[in-house]
Amino acid sequence: MSITRRKVLAGSAVGAASLASGLAAPAIAANEPIKIGYLPALTGPSSSTGIGINRGTVLAVDEINAAGGIDGRKIELIVRDTQSDPTKAVNAVAELTQRQKVAIIFGPLNSGEALAATPLIARDKVPMLHPCWVDELIDVKKYPMAFRIAPTNTQVGGGANYYVVDVLKLKKVAVISDTTGYGTASVNTYVPMLKAKGAEVVYTNHVDAANPDLKPELLRMQSAGAQAIMPWSVNAGFLSRILNTRGAMGWDVPVVGQTTLGSGQTKALLDKPENWNKVYSNNFRQVCFAGGKLPARAEEFVDRLKKAKVEMGDTLLWWIALGWDGAKMMGETLKAAGPKADDIVAHWNKTKDWPGVYGTVTWTPEQHNGFPDTEVVMCEVNSLKDGAFNLAPGYAV
């Protein structure tokens, strides 16, 4: 086919016509849905969190749309499953920011993917909401449009330290981790924090998680006079070996640490159920039973979940609440500030004591970590009921 002058002119005319209709677009866009990018890991090795959070997010978006949306415009959740793979998250970000032109991005929900995706989202100047804990994800200079509705790892470790030193009043602590990046970084961050609180760290070590016998480690802790063990690991095998060895030694020492201590995988590896006694893992005050009752916001939320027939028994309440809070926060923001990036950021920068189910959020232009220290608590791991745990003993209710 030869290109003639006539064809070129005809093509230009079509182009000009489409451009003209594009210019008239705002009048039509008023009824178009507002797009929100959403990057959960719904499959792959780290997907259990994503599946739990997703239930809350989907419920909240459905509720907002059923109530008429944002001034008549529906919210459209553009979901891209990261498959627990940072590469997939990065590819999805490019699509969401450049092709789909989403107003806000929620996620990625896992730290590994979030670390890879955050700089790209910041480069494309899209406001983002983080549910992950890694401290480095929030930096008002580098990522001025990124906000967090969850605690940081420092807050999580601080919550455990507070429980051991200020609630249980124990001064001699053993801190160990596996040899992963998460484990060693946690020990290196939390040990100085413990010392600053006046605790004596009598034993600290990094242990190969594959080591089948942890008795030597526990004997060393015992002879060092440890009154509490704080293990930092997400490896259920490693944590269960600590608990089983403690049980076999008949040592009645509390174990205080990360949420995996209370996971079903850890439970499955226990020699006997009693090995789960006196084990306290991180949780959040707004979603814990205190004196047999959930706080008012959580109770209302559970009723809402039951009414919507959302399954709670196979996941954790705080995961669902986190997803619900994220979507609710985005919906309210779009209603108050509209879909323009700068307006969203300006609105978020003024957020004070926003009453989420998972946590109470406050942001300022200087601080985009919104979760309050006081709501990071410890819970009894053997008290799981309907996805929620009892507050650990000793807290003022």
Partner: protein, 285 residues
């Protein structure tokens, strides 16, 4: 402390020794150092937990099924990763092909079974302490295997044929021995021994996809210490490694235990490169 070092050390050492023997059985028949030994060990635990723990089969049926799976995987290893590269064995291509196969299987296990360690059922309810199955079961398996192999190699015709292939495959073939069939049989036998190691050690090591790399690594040490191809050397090397590792665990602890193990390993290899039990073999020409 002493009891704990001996019981755990010998039990873990027996698993390492069996993985070492798995390497040896494959190596003798093919001159190929197949890195599927750790994979077989890992699968012994995972498949055992699947058959007995998840599907609820009786322990003995589960064990037989696990060993059968091991034998089949051994055959597949020979067919898929060893036979095609035997022609160019000097280029050590088999290192890549066996490793690639092992990694594929490991990834498959990670996806299908999960990346978290899972419990292995207690088969014989005695213990705790010395009588716990997690201690004596691997030792028993190791003893049965080494005695069985000695009897096979010394008392049976097929065992002698294995030895002949291991000694000099060209000469054995010239004498009319079916080298290919014998090699396949060796890989199937190695599959059985490797999965037996994993099965008996799984209460201690758990049913965990990550055990593959650990067993590949620590199972290699007794082979290097005991001398390539020497099963008795692998047993001595494996038990010594287990005891030393557990002693280091008690004495220094943490990641330094692993450092101590490998420091000793390097020193032994520097002093006796042919291994503690290996001798320099002379070949008649």
């Amino acid at each position: 402390m002493f009891a704990s070092i001996v019981s755990y050390g010998l039990a873990v050492g027996a698993v390492y020794a069996l993985i070492g023997i798995t390497y040896n059985v494959m190596f003798s028949a093919s001159r190929v150092f197949s890195f599927t030994a750790g994979m077989l060990g890992m699968l012994g635990g995972v498949l055992g937990a699947l058959f007995i723990g998840k599907l609820g089969l009786p322990a003995i049926v589960g064990l037989v099924l696990v060993l059968a799976c091991g034998a089949v995987l051994g055959l597949v290893t020979e067919l898929v990763t060893v036979r095609p590269v035997l022609k160019s064995i000097e280029q050590h291509l088999y290192v890549l092909s066996t490793l690639a196969f092992a990694l594929m299987v490991q990834q498959f296990v990670a996806v299908e079974w999960g990346t978290e360690a899972q419990p292995f059922p207690r088969l014989i309810a005695i213990g705790p302490g010395w009588l716990d199955q997690q201690f004596w079961l691997p030792m028993l398996a190791c003893a049965v295997t080494i005695v069985g192999l000695e009897l096979l190699y010394r008392k049976t015709l097929i065992g002698r044929a294995f030895l002949a292939i291991a000694e000099d495959s060209y000469a054995a073939r010239a004498l009319g021995l079916p080298e290919t069939q014998l090699r396949m049989a060796s890989f199937a036998l190695a599959g059985v021994i490797g999965t037996l190691a994993g099965f008996t050690g799984a209460e201690m090591l758990l049913a965990f996809f990550g055990n593959q790399s650990i067993l590949n690594f620590y199972g290699f040490v007794p082979v290097a210490l005991g001398g390539m191809g020497s099963n008795r050397g692998a047993v001595v090397g494996g038990l010594a490694l287990g005891l030393f590792q557990q002693a280091a665990n008690f004495l220094v602890g943490g990641i330094f235990a692993a450092v101590a193990v490998f420091a000793v390993f390097i020193i032994v290899l520097l002093l006796r490169p042919e291994g503690l039990a290996g001798g320099s073999a002379a070949r008649r020409v």
